[in-house]
Symmetry: C2
Subunit: 418 residues, 2 copies
């Protein structure tokens, strides 16, 4: 008998039929003797509907009140799923975030979980009750309703798994796992049966939107055994098979079944690159540039500064394409003359492609292998950054698909590992 | 400066425009220096949508989980209204039932309010904040979400007014007050500017569905000054005019402006009459009949038993027409032979018409005046019951409109009081 947390996203509970399917799947796990906690999102479309209502009233809705409104979506789902479980003759009980209670800070619309009081849940589990918890939400120390931000239900599930010291946390979603890259671009992309926590973190933050990045960080902190798997399979498939499906996020590198150096090719569209040329290379200059950008609430992704020549350097960074115009305006009006930069050159038509792999640590030549593969296709590299387990390049966005395909093949990702 | 509770029903907050109108109306009251607590229902149609969803999953939804689902409708409205108030530059804060906190018993879907902790609200009011509270809902001592049943938002408003010792409780609705009878039947029906609590109770329970009966009982218990008025008037109408509009429910008979003996003609369609003939007149016989009916969960309205002749009596009562068939079956299978009744005669095509008036206490001849008016139109009276302030008769339902019109005229209700 194990204590297992299941999590089902909005698509998986998108209508009454799907909620009934989730109940059947849970019944199967319950029959096998497991203790079950289920975290659910709002029915698909519901959160957007509620936020749209709020925006009809306030262009920028009051954050506290927006959370009051937005959190109702999950509350509906927990009640419906508990009913569906009871309809199957099982014991079930729903909890909102404040009932559990999921204590968060007071940062409305993007609150962080501080702690979870798992006493009620443990008592229910001991009685054989399936506990259904609303994802995405909690309450602060004053009893205000809070939400965790988009994708927050993943974080709720991982936090509950950590608080309960669950044996495994299963994230059911509309893809069947983590792939070597996006199969829409590379049809030969393979599902990874395992991926390390560090790789997952890079894959998630680089745009493989399978799991919310915060939930992965949370899982890593508490070493929660996390599995991403499909909710679209037959609810009655054999449990043993289902339990091995999807992709397991692991914390033990040496136990990896797959010994590939590179695990996947990640990418981000919709970035924009900005370069300040011939900036005086003196202390504080990076802060003067990026401080102004941060003050305008613009997130910076990559930052590259090369060595200086004649006391002058070129300073480049990337931002979300949607914030490109705002960033350019800040630089031109508040930064350029102030720091004495020669020119500000922007390019909103770029993308970022990365190779990610824990094996990189113990292998040399990955970077040159990557650059050669791109060069052979005539793809010019505009910026490069590296971390211990990834290499990212900025290229013209028209080469995105080509670059991803070329790298996927160059690192042998289309073949099953030996 | 007064502390005033406003309540707006589902139609009054049925869409974004109407919510904005409610905010404008509240702003007007706030400008006049009043402290305001606002109780709101779910946007019209929302509660039905949620209950329908639940019924797609369970034909008889689990009551605890149904309350979890159904209570979200009001939660959406409070957030939206608080936003609309903030958009007008006012301080506003929303509270769900459990946040206030509205403590109820654990009778899910029909919970009763035990007490309200008004500390948070008082603190907010002292700061000039408009407090927006979700109607219809509360939480029990274990932190479970509860709802008060259909129309429960009226009760929430009255309970809050009582807890806060509010100066007045304004129930804004889609009618502009309590009428002498239904204007759809008698075009000359007049709005009453005041009505006594006892009369309102009779009018409400007899089918004038302006206010939920429980909210009227609650108001009476705590002597809450209650006013029913229209939410469909111009939000910018002069406050003095609005404050005098609608119908005030009063507890001081002698201060009544209107000295009419009869305040209104109430009626109920859809009743059914059942008579057991020649029942042995012995102790316990009424219980043997009505106990079986109660065991079948059927509500009984009027009960009439006449004096016995030869130790035998006729026993009649009325039930909701929708429960007529069930009641007849119970009587025929479980009661008739057991008590030795001669026959069971049923008639599902009856209605009940009542004249209601506090002045009846000090006036004689009201009953004969009523019976004569009906007789002159050839309307046969089948059953009669009386209370201190009302006389009800059961008649053939085809005469309903005629009887109401005749009585309305006979008691001079179509003329303004002297």
């Amino acid at each position: 008998m194990a204590l297992i947390v299941h999590k089902y996203g909005g698509t998986s509970v998108g209508n009454v039929e799907r909620i009934k399917n989730v109940a059947r799947r849970l019944a199967k796990w319950h029959r096998a003797g497991h203790q079950l906690v289920v975290v659910v999102s709002a029915m698909s479309g519901e959160t957007n509907r509620l936020i749209a209502l709020a925006k009809e009233i306030q262009a920028s809705p009051d954050p506290r009140e927006l959370d009051v409104v937005a959190s109702t979506g999950e509350q509906v789902t927990i009640g419906l799923l508990a009913m569906a479980l009871k309809e199957l003759g099982l014991k079930a009980k729903s909890y909102t975030g404040w009932q559990v209670h999921v204590l968060t800070d007071s940062a409305f619309t993007k609150a962080r979980i501080i702690e979870i009081d798992e006493k009620k849940i443990r008592a229910d589990l001991a009685e054989g009750t399936i506990v259904v918890v609303a994802g995405f939400q909690g309450a602060d120390e004053f009893g205000n309703v809070t939400t965790l931000g988009r994708g927050g239900s993943d974080t709720s599930a991982v936090a509950l798994a950590a608080a309960l010291k669950a044996d495994e946390c299963l994230i059911y979603t509309d893809v069947d796992g983590v792939y070597t890259t996006d199969p829409r671009i590379v049809p030969e992309a393979r599902r990874l049966s395992t991926i390390t926590f560090e790789e997952m973190l890079e894959m998630a933050s680089l745009g493989s939107k399978v799991l919310q990045i915060r939930s992965v960080e949370f899982a890593g902190k508490y070493k929660v055994k996390l599995r991403v798997l499909s909710s679209l399979t037959d609810a009655d498939m054999p449990l043993e098979e289902e339990a091995r499906s999807g992709t397991l996020i692991t914390y033990e590198e040496d136990k990896l079944m797959e010994k590939a150096v590179i695990s996947g090719i990640a990418f981000t569209r919709d970035e924009a690159k900005i370069t300040l040329t011939r900036v005086p290379d003196r202390p504080g200059i990076a802060y003067q540039i990026l401080g102004a950008i941060a003050d305008a609430n613009i997130d910076v992704d990559m930052i590259v500064q090369n060595i200086s020549v004649d006391g002058m350097t070129d300073f480049s960074f990337t931002v979300q394409r949607s914030e490109y115009a705002k960033a350019m305006e800040v630089l031109n009006t508040k930064v350029k003359d102030h720091i004495g930069a020669e020119r500000i050159i922007g390019d909103p038509k770029i993308c970022k492609v990365s190779v990610v792999g824990i094996g990189m640590r113990s292998h040399v030549g990955i970077a040159s292998q990557m650059f050669r593969a791109l060069a052979e296709e005539g793809i010019n590299i505009q910026m490069i950054t590296t971390s211990e387990i990834k290499i990212s390049v900025v290229i013209d966005d028209k080469y995105l698909e080509l670059a991803v395909r070329v790298l996927h093949k160059a690192f042998g990702l289309d073949q099953a590992p030996a």
